[in-house]
Structures are given as C-alpha cells and as structure tokens.
C-alpha cells in the first residue's frame, strides 16, 4: 500500500498539504451513489466504513509475507499447503474479516498452489473475476477483462508469453479456475541468488504477478511491470 500517513515527504514540510488535484467525475459519482444508497436505507454508513477500512488494509503484501515465510520455514509451508485459510492466521490474515463471516465474496476455501521445477500454476476466474483478495488485495484491471479470463484457459502459454513469461515445453502448466467458494494463490519457487536473505527481503520480490502466476520472482525484481500496455496478440506499445 502506498498510503502515506505522516503528511510529509516529496518536499512537503510537516503540516503542509498537497494542492488538491481536480476532482474526477467518478469520485463525485461514487459519493453520490453511496449517499443515495444510505439515504434509501440499503445499508448504513457504518456498514460502508467497515468494508472500506477492510479494503484499505488488504494488498499483495499479505501474500508476499505468506510465501516468504513458507520459503524459510518448511513446517509453515506444509501447514500453508494443507490449510491455507488457517495458516493465514499466523501472519495476521483472517478470512472471516470484516464481518465475522468474511465479505459476501471472500469467505471461501483458500488453496495455495506450489510451483515446482516441472509444474507451473496460474490462476484465473472464467465466470467472473474471483480473486483471493484477503491475501492479494484488489485484482488488477487485466485480471478482470474477459480477454484474460477467456484466453488463459484456452491458450495459457500464449497469454503468459504476452506477460513476458516463456515456460519450457517440459514444464506442465496448470490453470486453476476460481469459483464462488474456492480461491487460489500461487506459491512461486524461491529463486537462486537469494540464499541467506531474510523473510523481509524475500517478501519484497514476491510480487502480485508472481502469486497470480504470470511472472516469476527474481532477486532484482521488486515490482510488477506497470509501464507497458499489452494488447491482444502479444504486441507491446
């Protein structure tokens, strides 16, 4: 998460505020709809606050922590693979939050899929865009597109190649289709060159895309590619 709480940085002095940028029409629309919904009694402001705070707290850092811990602690790894939901509690992720029974779409069975030298996993949701939000946060835009969802199950190697991931032919590729009650996350292999690293160091290279399965971790890779636009057919621009 990039939320800054201290109010300074980037040249700001303490106590100064950044000049507000133009308010977008969608910011206005979102608030207008929320206010009308509350006025009409569809839900309360407190209901909304509860879900908003939960949404603000989740992100791929949760999954990164899980994977890094599993890389250095074989017993934790076994527990994570055996019962992902339960093992999450050990790193402070509770799938029952924020309501005590999860969100309407997140209280499910959570499975961690281990990559090996001969097996690569990748996740998708062909029906809608189910995603393991408690451990990965909000899904990226491309994950929700029909293009990714439809093509990943039909031509996974081609789609992975568009992400820059070229798997050898002798590596089996398994595409896991999420559904209303099952969520998946990929546990990538720990890369060479990370011997002796701390959990914190390791967590930094376990990016969101490596846990979706469209990228592999590397010692010098701490963020997912955000600057290129992938277009259908694999061309980059």
């Amino acid at each position: 998460m990039s939320t800054r709480h201290d109010g300074h940085g980037h040249g700001e002095a303490p106590g100064e505020f950044q000049i507000a940028t133009k308010v977008s029409e969608f910011e206005i629309l979102e608030l207008a709809v929320r206010e009308l919904a509350i006025e009409k009694g569809l839900f309360s402001a407190e209901d909304h606050r509860k879900f908003a705070e939960w949404a603000d707290g989740i992100g791929p850092h949760g999954g990164s922590k899980l994977v890094a811990k599993a890389w250095v602690d074989p017993e934790f790894k076994q527990r994570l693979l055996a019962d992902g939901t339960k093992a999450c509690l050990e790193v402070g992720i509770d799938w029952l939050q924020p309501t005590g029974s999860g969100t309407p779409s997140d209280y499910t069975f959570f499975y961690v899929l281990e990559n090996t030298p001969k097996l690569h996993n990748v996740i998708v949701c062909t029906l809608c865009s189910c995603y393991p939000r408690p451990v990965l946060g909000m899904s990226p835009d491309w994950y929700r597109t029909p293009n990714y969802r439809r093509r990943m199950v039909r031509r996974p190697r081609e789609v992975l190649a568009e992400f820059g991931l070229h798997l050898p032919e002798d590596v089996e590729l398994r595409v896991h289709d999420s559904n209303q009650k099952s969520r998946f996350m990929v546990m990538p292999m720990r890369p060479e060159g990370t011997e002796g690293w701390s959990e914190k160091q390791l967590a930094e290279i376990v990016t969101r895309d490596t846990m979706i399965g469209v990228a592999l971790p590397a010692p010098n890779r701490k963020s997912d590619t955000k600057t290129e636009t992938l277009v259908s057919g694999g061309r980059r621009r």
């Binding site: 990039s2 507000a20 308010v23 977008s24 029409e25 969608f26 910011e27 206005i28 629309l29 979102e30 608030l31 207008a32 709809v33 929320r34 206010e35 009308l36 919904a37 009409k40 569809l42 839900f43 209901d47 909304h48 606050r49 879900f51 908003a52 939960w54 949404a55 603000d56 309501t99 969100t103 309407p104 779409s105 029906l127 809608c128 865009s129 909000m138 990226p140 835009d141 491309w142 929700r144 597109t145 029909p146 293009n147 990714y148 093509r151 789609v159 568009e162 209303q180 997912d224 590619t225 955000k226 290129e228 636009t229 992938l230 277009v231 259908s232 057919g233």
Partner: protein, 112 residues
C-alpha cells in the same frame, strides 16, 4: 431475444471525463487504484451483504453491460457504472435524483 439494455445519459456523460478506452485487448494499462474505486468496492460489498445486489449478479452484469453499453469505458470504471445502472433499473433512485445529488456533491467539493 432479450431487450436492449437501458442507457442512462447521466452515466454516459462521464466518458468525457475519464477518456475512452481504445484498447479492447487484455492489457488496459495498469493503474494505481484511486480511492473512489476502493470506496465503490465497499459499496458493492455492503449492497451484496444486505441482499440488494449480489456480487456475482453484479459481476455478470459488468461483463454484459461492459461489453455493450459501457464498452468504451476503462475497466476500472465498470463497477461504478454498472452498480449505478442496476440501482436505477431497480428504481432505487431515478436518473433525475442522481443528477441532483451529483450537483450537491460537486458543490460541496467546490467549497472545500
């Protein structure tokens, strides 16, 4: 054959603000989610938890309307557009009510 979906001018008008999405392919450019996107997800969860608009029903509508009425809009706007669209379809509020509320919110932002 099902009837063509309703279109709401109050929603179509927002295209000029967000800008048309010209790439129909997989990779709409990644972006850092804005606060309003996160808040709208909270609205979706609140609506679903109260049985007003089930999340799966909404997501299917996002596909259906996202590939027709809102095909020119970026993916990150679809939840907001479709939730609003469905609530107006359900007569929870009218287009006119929404327009008025938008102006109230806009004025409030202008004062801040």
């Amino acid at each position: 054959m099902s009837a063509a979906p309703t279109t709401y001018d109050v929603l179509m008008d927002t295209l000029s603000d967000i800008g048309e999405r010209t790439d129909a392919g997989m990779g709409c450019l990644e972006h850092e989610p804005a606060v309003w996107e996160s808040r709208m997800q909270a609205t979706c969860e609140a609506l679903s938890s109260h049985g007003v608009l089930d999340n799966l029903e909404r997501r299917l509508a996002e596909d259906r309307l996202g590939e027709s009425v809102y095909a020119r809009f970026p993916v990150q706007t679809r939840s907001t557009l479709v939730v609003t669209h469905l609530l107006m379809d359900q007569k929870v509020f009218t287009e006119e009510e929404l327009r008025k509320r938008i102006e109230v919110v806009r004025d409030r932002f202008a004062e801040e």
